[in-house]
Structure formats: C-alpha cells, structure tokens
Symmetry: D2
Subunit: 321 residues, 4 copies
C-alpha cells in the first residue's frame, strides 16, 4: 500500500493558545531524518513554495531515502496573504496569485513525478451571517478551479473538502459540493481528496463518501486520521472510529483504489514518532482486515438487508476475545 | 407572500415515547377548519393518497376557503411499506410502487393546479456502518428520480434533502448532493426544497444553500421552522436562529424568489394555532425586514469585506432598544 | 454478568412519522416469550403501572422463565399527562401524582425484589428560550427527588440523565448535574443510571462518567446501546463506538461494578430478536475483553502518560488481523 | 454595567495553520492604548506572570486610563509547561507550580483590587479513550482547587468550564461538574465563570447555566462571545445567537447580577477595534432590552406555560420592522 506522511508529526503543533508549540519544531531536514526511520512509509508530500533551495535537493534526498514524492501541496493555508480567501478572494490580484501558485505547484508535481496537487481552500469561506455574497464567490471558485485544472491535463488536482476551521464556514464543505464542482467543470484531472476526519466531523459516513467519489471517477487521494465528530482533532488513525475506518478500507478495497493513503495527524501532546508509526500500523491493519472480510457474503447480506447478520460476522472476524 | 401550511399543527404530534400523542388529533376536515381561521395563510398542501374521497372535494373546499393548493405531497414517509427505502429499496416492486405513487401525485398536482410535488425520501438511507452498498443504491435513486421527473415535464418535482431522521443517514442529505443529482439528470422540472431547519442541523448556512440552489435554477420551494442545530426540532420560525432566518429572507429577496414559503413546524406541547399564527407573523416580519435592509450598502460592505460595519447596520436597523 | 432487557425489541418501534410502527407490536406476554428464548439474558424490567393484572403474575412468570426482575420503571414518559413535566410540573397536582407513582413503584420494586426504580424525567425540561423559570423548576425537581428517595431507604432510585428528546432540553442532562443533585440531597439510595448512549450524544466520554459516578458511590445501573453522538439512536451495542464501549467496560471492571447491565436498544428496521441477541453477545465480548486487558500495564502507562503505547496494546490485544 | 475586555482583539490571533497570525500583534502597551479608545469599557484584566515589569506600572496606567482591574488571569494555558495538565498533572512538581502560580495571582488580585482570579484549566483533560485514570485526576483537581481557594478567603477564584479545546476533553466541562466541585469543597470564595460561548457549544442553554450558578451563589463572572454550537469560535457578541444572548441578560437582570461582563472575542479576520466596540454596543443593547422586557408579564406567562404568548411579546418588543 502506498502510505504517505508529512513531517507534521515532528513539528511544534502550536495552536491559538500554545503559540510557541507543544515541543521544539524540527526543521525540514530533521523531519526527513525522522520520516526515514518510520517503517512502512513509502511517500512524502512536498510543500510549495519549497522548504528547500530547489527541487533537485528534494528529489535527491527522496532517492537516497528510498521514498517517493506523493502530493505536492501548495501553501493555501499558512500564508496570511490568503486570510480573506484565495481563489474566492474579492481582490482579483490575490486570486491571480493563488492561481499562479497552483500552476507552479502543478509544474513541480510533474517535475518530481508526484501524484497530484492538493487544493485545500482553507480560507475560502466566511464567518458570519450577512458577511458574504455567496453566489459571487462561488463563481470565483469555479473560475479559478477551471483555470488551474485546464492549465495542464497531465497533472491531477485534488480538492480536499472541509466544513470549517480555520473559518466557521468553508465553501467546499462536503462530498456533495465537491462532486457538483467536478461534474460541472468536466475536467478529468480535477478530483477529490476524502479526508476521513473531515468527512466524519462533517456529518458524513466516510465510506459512503469514497463510494460516491469513486462512482464519478473523482477519488484521487485519501487522508487518514480520527476525531470526535465535532472538530478536526487529527487524532491517531482509528483511535476513535474503529468500524467506520474499517468500512472505509472495505470500500477502498471494493472499488480497487490504488492511490496514496496519507497519514494526516496532528500529535500535539503525544510522541510524534510513535503516533505516526502506530497510525501506519493501523492503516496496514485495517487494509489487511478489509481484504480478509468475506466480500461476497457481506454483499449478499447487504442485498438481503440482513444488517444484524453482518454485525455478527464483523464481531467474529474482527475482534479478538 | 405565498405562505402555505399543512394541518400538522392540529395533529396529535405523537413521537416514539408518547405514542398516543400530545393532544387529540383533529381529523382532516377539522384541520381545514382551523387553517381557515389562520390569518395570512394563502395555500395548503395536499397529501397523496388523498385523505378525502376524491380530489374535487379538496378543490371545492379550497375554493370555499379562498385558499390555493400548494405542494402535493406523496406519502413517502408514513407508510411502513417504505421502511427499507422507496426509490432505493432493494426490492424492485417497492421501487416501482413509489415511482407509481409519485407519478399519480404529479397528475393530481396538475389537476389541482398545485405548485410542485414534494420528494422527501425519508427512508432512503441506512443506519449502520457496513449496512449498505452505497453505489448500488445511489444508482437506484438516480434511476427513480429520472423516471418520475421525465414522466411529465409540466409538473415540478422538488427534492427535500435531510441528513437524518427517521434514519441515521439519508442519501439525499445536503444541498451539495441535491444539486449534484439535479445537474446530472438535467431535467428542468427537477429541483430542490430547502427546509431551513434541515439546512441548519445539517451544518449548513441556509442562506448559502438557497443562494446556491438559485444559481442553478433549482430553488423550487422553501420550508420554515427552527431547531438547535443537532436535530429536526421543527420549532417556531425564528424561535432560535434570528440572524440566519433573516439572512435567509434577505437572499430570497435578492434572488427574486416568488415561490411558496411553507410553515413546517411540529408544535407538540405548545398551542398549535398560536404556534402556526406566530410563525406566519414572523415570516411576514422577516420578509418585511429583508425588504427594508439597505441592499446596496450591504452589498458594498460585503465587497469591501467590512463585516463589522454590516453588523452595526443590522443592530441599528433590526433591533428595538 | 447480570444482563437485563425489556421487550422493546419486540414492540412496533413507532416514531413521529411511522406512527403505526415498523412492524406489528407484540403484546407483553408475547414479548416475554421472545425474551425467554434470548441467550444470556438474566433479568427483565417491569413497567409500572403494570402491563399485567397483578404483580404475582409477573413474579410467577419470571420464576417459570428462570429470570429475575431488574429495574422497576414507572411510566414517566409515555402518558401525555406528564407532557409539561412531572416532578417539575407547574401544576402541583401533577407533581403529586408523579411522586405517588414513584412511591408505588418503589413498593413494587421491594415486593418483586427488583434492583432499583428508574427515574428518567423525560418531559421535565423546556423547548424554547424564555419558556421557563429555571430556578423555580430546579427547586421542584429537588423537592420531588428528596421526597421519593426519603420514602423508603431500602429501595434504590436511579436517575437516568439525558440532554434532550423528547424535549429540546431536559433538566437532568448530564453526569455533572446528576451528581450535584445526589450530593446535595445526601440520600444514599439516590443514585444514577449511566446510559452509554445518552453520555455519548451529550458530549461526554462514558468511561469518565461511570468513573465519576462510582467515585461518589452513585453508580446504580448502566444502559447499553450506541449512536452517532448527535441523537439517541439506540443502535446495537458497540455498533459505532467500539473503543469507548470497551473502555466503559474496562472502567466497570476496575471499579468492581456488579449491578445490572441493561440492553436499551430500539431496533426499528432490523430484526429485533437478532439485534437483542447480538447486543448481548457484544456485552459479553466487551466484558471478556475488558477482563483480559493488562490492567496494571495500562495503569502504569497511563501514569507515565504513554498514550501511544496503550494504543499499541489495544491494537494487538483486541483486534484480529 | 461593568464591561471588561483584554487586548486580545489587538493580538495576532494566530492559529495552528496561520502560525504567524492574521495581523501584526500589538505589544501590551499598544494594546492598552487601543483599549483606552474603546467607549463603554470599564475594566481590563491582568495576566500573571505580568507582561510588565511590576504591578505598580499597571496600577498607574489603569488610573491614568480611568479603568479598573477586573480579573487577574494566571497563565494556565499559554505556557507549554502545562501541556499534560496543571492542577491534574501526573507530575507533583507541576501541580505545585500551578498551585503556586494561582496563589501569587490571588495576592496580585488583592494588591490590584481586582475582582477575581480566573481558573481556566485548559490542559487538564485528555484526548483518547484509555488515556487516563479519571478518578485519580479528579482527585488531584479537587485537592488543588481546595488548596488555592483556602489560601486566602478574601480573594475569589472563579472556574471557567469548557468542554474541549485545546484538548478533546477537559475535566471541568460544564455547569453541572463546576457546581458539583464548588458544593463539595464548600469554600465560599470558589465560584464559576459562565462563558456564554462555552455553554452554547457545550450543549447548554446559557440562561439556565447562570440561573443555576446563581442559585448556589456561585456566579462570579460572565464572558461574552458567540459561536455556532460546535466550537469556541469566539465571534462578535450576539452575532449568531440573538435570543439566547438576550435571555442570558434577562436572567442576569432577574438575579441581580452586578459582576463583570467580560468581552471575550477572537477577531481573527475582522477589524479588532470595531469587533470589540460593536460587542460592547451589543452588550449594552442586550442589557437595555432585558431591562425593558415586562418581567412580571413574562413570569406570569411562564407560570401559565404560555410559551407562544411569550414569543409574541418578544417579537413585538424586540424587533424593529
């Protein structure tokens, strides 16, 4: 399985209260050293603008580590330049800048043989009733996405939807809106990242979300973490939602998903190394379990609407007691 | 304004605990008598199958009352026949029955000169992880909706999305999925009912939902009530969410909405007559306020991203102190 | 383990939409027949007023079935008489009636050698801002609880807290308020039922709730079911929250809980017999798993704040892959 | 009215994504300059350890500004030292340090004639199932609170409850637990801060929370802001919850509350000055409205359970249309 992770587990994990962070932040090189020691890790995302002098440093380093580049992630969320929106900013210069940044990220993705470019439009939303002209900004969003996805068809761009944080409302909030955009724009290289945590706290069942995304050939990437269904806690994979995470892999298996599985956790107070390693172990566990489940029998029971019989199978096959 | 309400406010309002209901349920004729006394009410929906011997009884009665028929609502949710889904039922006979029921409702709607046929697919969903084959059932849903909306183009059919209740998950859960369906099927008489309460407890901002629905020419109907953002409490209009309800009417005004505004409340313990009358008074109030708000000034401040100045206007124009 | 269940799994499970229910409701005698066939079931609760002619019919029947009486549950929630509150009703006659009903339930509990009397004050709450005089009604609540718990000290009365449904707000909403009441009234026979589902959708961690209740010697009873953290879905035990349910039993084990474990599910659409039987199998499973977990090692790791090491143990000990 | 605000509105308002902040952070002196220009502001809280060389600098500055010291707020949440808990930390040295910090804050509060010492135990909680020994840590919490509140009875210490953030679970999560602690410890100078936003996103009705706190003579302080009931968004006062905020002031008025009303907002993207000034205008507005509402008539209608009549009064008295 193509498991990917960034060095976030080795960063300071600061928040709005503990602004200096919960531990010393390693620099990008140190983070790569740590990632090199993680077992089961195949790929590493690259941020753009680069945290290194040039792309060849990364490529060489990846080769030496025996890792591949997964996602290329343009900075759509860290720079306060985007605070009032990027692709949907009222200011056309900011919109242009973001379009340019994404295009350059697409070029870099091609150059590094990455899998796709991540579009998490973190600040493209609003906070208050009456703050915004929704139709106008939805128009900007579609224009911007059309322009970047048309720029070069040989690079995938993948929308990561999220309902809130850092805004109280983000425009691309759920799987429905994400698919609506993709189907409207009809560009085959525009697709979706389903972050299991975003799906969970957005009130969705993540397994349904990936099934729908796959139905429309838009499932480009998945992100793994967990939370308590009210916020993006970015906890250990499967730390809370055991069955939903298993079903997520069950559907990935069923649809033949062969893309990256990115660990996207935020281990503020726990050991970052252990949290990342255990998350990978659990991804391997869930994938293994999903493969061993009796697909045909479950499919038959689903068709017969025998949910309790499925529950019995799950108990007997999955739990050790 | 075209305000509509059913006789639900004069029904027993039973629930899973108080199965005999919170008061005596009036019969359909008595309910009409009560509705006749409500001020400001223009339209009344008709259930199908009919609660009366034939359609002419209703038509005559409506004429005598000076009311119009609004929605025709096929029973997609009361009959336990639909408990395992209707348009998405695994059993093709049930799917056919529901399609037939909707078609007959469309004929009735035409006959009674109603506004549209309500499609709330209450039981088309699932309750447990692993219960369902999502892709298969999404396929059934699209097939069924295509068939009914194609049956006769001169009658509108309007999807009412809802995230949950009576199931823990309904397939047509939010504005994004609703628009995805409408845009995929490309049938101009297939549109959307935005129930402000469903939107609120689904984590949406209802004003954004109607703006988006209108952008795609799919806003056919709106339902009014209120809740605490976690369940479909169906409370008095504006009883909780004052600003969001006002913004909802502000956007309706802006897009030139001229359809029905249906009061869809469930006054279990409070006086049904008063709850319905006060809801209508509040719809009139919100509509009046929305008309009086300085649209151009607010639009300019929105474009300048001056949210706090908008907040000041709202305080000064809307609140009496 | 003392596992208890009512016949709810064999009732019609009606709700506000499907008022005729999702299946034919068995009568109380038929329900007992079904319960007799359930494996692992030890106890059955008794409703008061009785669904049978007299108490001896129940006692004899229980003896014949080899079952014990667990809870005695006064009807605090079905009769519309209580719709505006019972112990907190503004009408003193209603308050008296409820007090009387509870006292008679306590006598019955003594007569049948039941474990405790269930106090779920379903309608003691409010629905709207400005509806209520909170302090006055909190006073009524304390008065009523003091009177019933003082009536006879040899019968336990157990408060079941719940945040909402059938009201949007119930007064006894969480573990904190429940313990506040118990500690204020200082009556040793007044305690708490922790319903794992109420705790989950109330935003609590149920394991913390039982640990706190036990700290104050107020944990009298537990109810088992599951939901999606926003409503009282009353799903199959462990159907959603695997880890939280396991930790719940882990803490029950740690504190030496030896009371009843009541299956409190509401299987509307699934087979009631299978849902109840599988719930019991899962309670047995969780209890067995909790017993096998290395308590000392986990305690040591908790004290060392090594959460990720605990997660590794849980994966290795609990999951089959 | 005694309105208080800190300089947070003039800070960078950074978060976990925009770590450099949404604007330049003013230094403490500049923040005081801004606060001096805010109309209607009476008091300013003081952080401890001091952001200034010594207490006399603050006192002199306050005198010059014509402002009073409100709360003294020990740093229980910024310093990463507390990341694994402070009063409940497993490490006794950390617990001692926090106790010492609070005691020194109490001395400072006395010296500056402040109103109370704020105890927001931000990191005293846990993130994962199985992470914690709840009973042990609840014990530490009670010990610590008893020690500080006993240190000097002439200074009030006020617990600010919150359900989550920065942890997924905080121990002192709601009004029930807060009152349980206060009643158990029986120290008259230990009380509660009700933050209206914490109450809202914790699933409470804030008006009920202050009514209960007042019943037990534990309402020491209130914090004002708003959110969408799922997270601590710290928005403009009354920006979302108009009726609940009004009822909050209605109850404050009814119980004769004469303590500080602290504006506790976090205006990341909006103009900080305007957000704070508009929040104060709204506090004044709500307080004025609450005073003008017909208390006796509302009380009578509450006692007669005529909720819809109350709703009519609210519409007519409060809304301009």
């Amino acid at each position: 399985m193509k498991i990917e992770a960034s060095g976030a587990s080795f960063s300071a994990c600061s928040d709005r209260f503990v602004t200096t962070g919960y531990r010393r932040s390693m620099n990008p090189m140190e983070q790569l050293d740590e990632l090199a020691r993680i077992e089961g890790l195949i790929g590493i995302p690259v941020m753009y603008p680069l945290q290194f002098d040039n792309a060849s440093i990364i490529r060489d380093r990846m080769v030496k580590m025996g890792k591949k580049v997964g996602t290329v992630a343009p900075d759509t969320y860290i720079d306060p330049l985007w605070k009032d929106g990027s692709l949907t900013c009222r200011n056309p210069k900011i919109r242009k800048k973001m379009i340019q940044l994404i295009k350059e990220s697409m070029d870099l993705c091609h150059e590094l043989d990455g899998s796709d470019v991540l579009l998490w439009m973190a600040h493209d939303g609003y906070d208050y009733p009456f703050e915004d002209d929704y139709n106008m900004r939805w128009g900007y969003l579609l224009e911007g996405l059309a322009e970047v996805a048309s720029y070069r068809r040989d690079v995938k761009v993948a929308i990561e939807y999220k309902a809130k944080e850092p805004r109280t409302h983000q425009y691309i909030s759920d799987i429905g809106k994400s698919l609506l955009i993709c189907e409207e724009l009809k560009l085959p290289n525009l697709g979706i990242v389903v972050d299991i945590g975003h799906s969970l706290f957005g009130g969705e069942n993540p397994a349904e979300a990936v099934a729908l995304a796959a139905r429309y050939n838009r499932l480009f990437h998945v992100h793994m973490n967990d939370n308590y269904r009210s916020w993006d806690d970015d906890l250990l994979v499967g730390g809370v939602h055991f069955w939903e995470t298993l079903e997520f892999f069950y559907v990935l298996n069923k649809i033949g998903y062969d893309g990256w599985v990115t660990i996207d956790i935020w281990p503020s107070r726990v050991d970052g190394f252990k949290a990342l390693q255990e998350s990978i172990r659990r991804v391997e566990m869930f994938a293994e379990m999903a493969r061993k489940l009796p697909l045909e029998e479950i499919k038959r029971l689903q068709d017969e609407n025998q949910t309790m019989d499925i529950m019995e199978i799950l108990r007997k096959k999955c739990i050790r007691y």
